[in-house]
């Protein structure tokens, strides 16, 4: 255990754990759009920048992303100093220009004093902030179906060759983790469409409720050795099944004892 000072308060932490984890544990709200615990820290959105210094740094201060800076003994951290807020405001101004129509970005930007971007709005912009969470989560899940394409300002997220991605199983995790909800998918009539690829959803044998896609279930069975019939029935019916089964056991034992 080491100790650091965050916003004037002494805080204990494990050496090497990332500052963002510590601040979150302490209940300090630092915006971070490209961070997700399921994947490695990335440092792309730069919103979680904090000011750090140490007693022996002669007043020198550094600005680092909390998601990617390991805790060290004696660090003195300011998460919302004037300069930090100014930097965050600058980054949010840039994001607001990039995604002028994203409610998530507008809300956060307004919170930091940017009700409207002061910069030139990017024409024909979608709401993607290029945090790459979708691609990183997809990689973490092991499907690696989508990736970033190109570089710089015209970088995008896309399936390979801009065709329906062969490795996608339709788990929609990419859409789920997207901070600006920009990846569209549709579940209609037992069919799921995402990345312009169509998938069959499993229908519960009992009630017909749709759960995950057949491709996803097959992948799980193959990779994690789960029996395929686990996916035949939906969770509602499974609970009912369980209660009835237990009921009959109790009834049987009652009969047996009486």
């Amino acid at each position: 255990m080491i100790s650091m000072t965050i916003n004037g308060k002494v805080v204990k932490a494990e050496k090497g754990e990332m500052l963002l984890k510590v601040t979150r544990r302490e209940g300090i709200d630092i915006p971070a759009l490209c961070h997700h615990d399921a994947v490695e820290p990335f440092g792309g959105c730069r919103l979680c920048m904090v000011e750090i210094t140490k007693a022996d740094w002669d007043g020198w201060k550094n600005y680092v992303t909390a998601c990617l800076y390991p805790a060290e003994d004696g660090l003195i951290i300011q998460t919302h100093s004037a300069k930090v807020n100014e930097l965050r405001k600058g980054v949010l101004d840039l994001l607001a220009a990039r995604c002028p129509n994203s409610p998530e970005i507008r809300e956060l930007a307004a919170e930091y004093g940017v009700p409207q971007t002061t910069l030139e709005e990017v024409p024909d912009a979608d709401n993607c902030i290029m945090c790459g969470l979708c691609t990183r989560v997809c990689e973490r899940l092991g499907f690696k179906a989508i990736s970033t394409v190109g570089r710089g300002h015209s970088k995008q997220v896309a399936p390979p060759l801009n065709e329906a991605p062969p490795d996608c199983v339709g788990c929609i995790s990419c859409a789920q983790v997207c901070p600006t909800n920009v990846i569209p998918y549709k579940d209609i009539n037992g069919k799921r469409t995402i990345w312009e690829k169509q998938f069959e959803l499993i229908a519960c044998k009992e009630c017909g409720k749709h759960t995950i896609t057949t491709d996803f279930a097959d992948a799980l069975c193959e990779r994690r050795a789960i029996p395929r019939d686990y996916f035949d029935v939906c969770d509602d019916c499974r609970r009912k099944e369980l209660s009835l089964k237990m009921g009959s056991i109790v009834a049987w034992s009652r009969e047996g004892t009486s």
């Binding site: 691609t135 690696k144 970033t148 394409v149």
Partner: protein, 154 residues
């Protein structure tokens, strides 16, 4: 478009079949075919055991790769700092005018591709134009016409 993909296996044989070889393999494919055919990307993904998405990501990240066919002669206008201040822009406009394409494009007959390149490292001779791998220094608006004529002949 169908391409003769028979030369691919020879390229794969040059490198260990590992993901690390990806860039080198793609460079050789680019050199062989003048671009990266879709089918070649798919085959590369399989041969090197790299996800197709990563092959696509890499092949769009680096300047060296093109997913559309390039011309037989690639004219690269150096727009390095020195060339820029010595008038590379004029040369670019002149060539765009002559070839009736913009930088980054290829003529319809696939004879010429026009590209700009950040710096070819021959700054003392700025402005520089390279036709395939041959450099031409101190290019002027007049001399680039000659260059094209020479290029058209062969």
């Amino acid at each position: 478009m169908n391409h003769d993909l028979s030369k691919l296996s020879a390229i794969y044989d040059r490198y260990p079949r590992k993901p690390q070889s990806l860039i080198a393999v793609l460079q050789d494919i680019q050199k062989e075919y003048n671009f990266l055919p879709c089918e070649a990307l798919k085959q590369t993904a399989e041969e090197l055991n790299v996800p197709l998405s990563k092959v696509f990501s890499v092949s769009t990240f680096y300047n060296a790769f093109s997913l559309v066919p390039k011309g037989e002669k690639v004219i690269r206008i150096c727009v390095g700092t020195t060339c820029h201040i010595r008038g590379a822009k004029q040369i670019q406009e002149q060539l765009e005018d002559e070839l009736k394409i913009k930088a980054g494009q290829t003529t319809e007959d696939l004879q010429f591709s026009l590209e700009v390149v950040a710096c070819v490292g021959a700054c003392a001779m700025a402005p520089v134009v390279a036709v395939n791998e041959r450099y031409h220094g101190n290019v002027t608006v007049g001399s680039c016409k000659k260059l094209l004529k020479k290029g058209k002949k062969g």
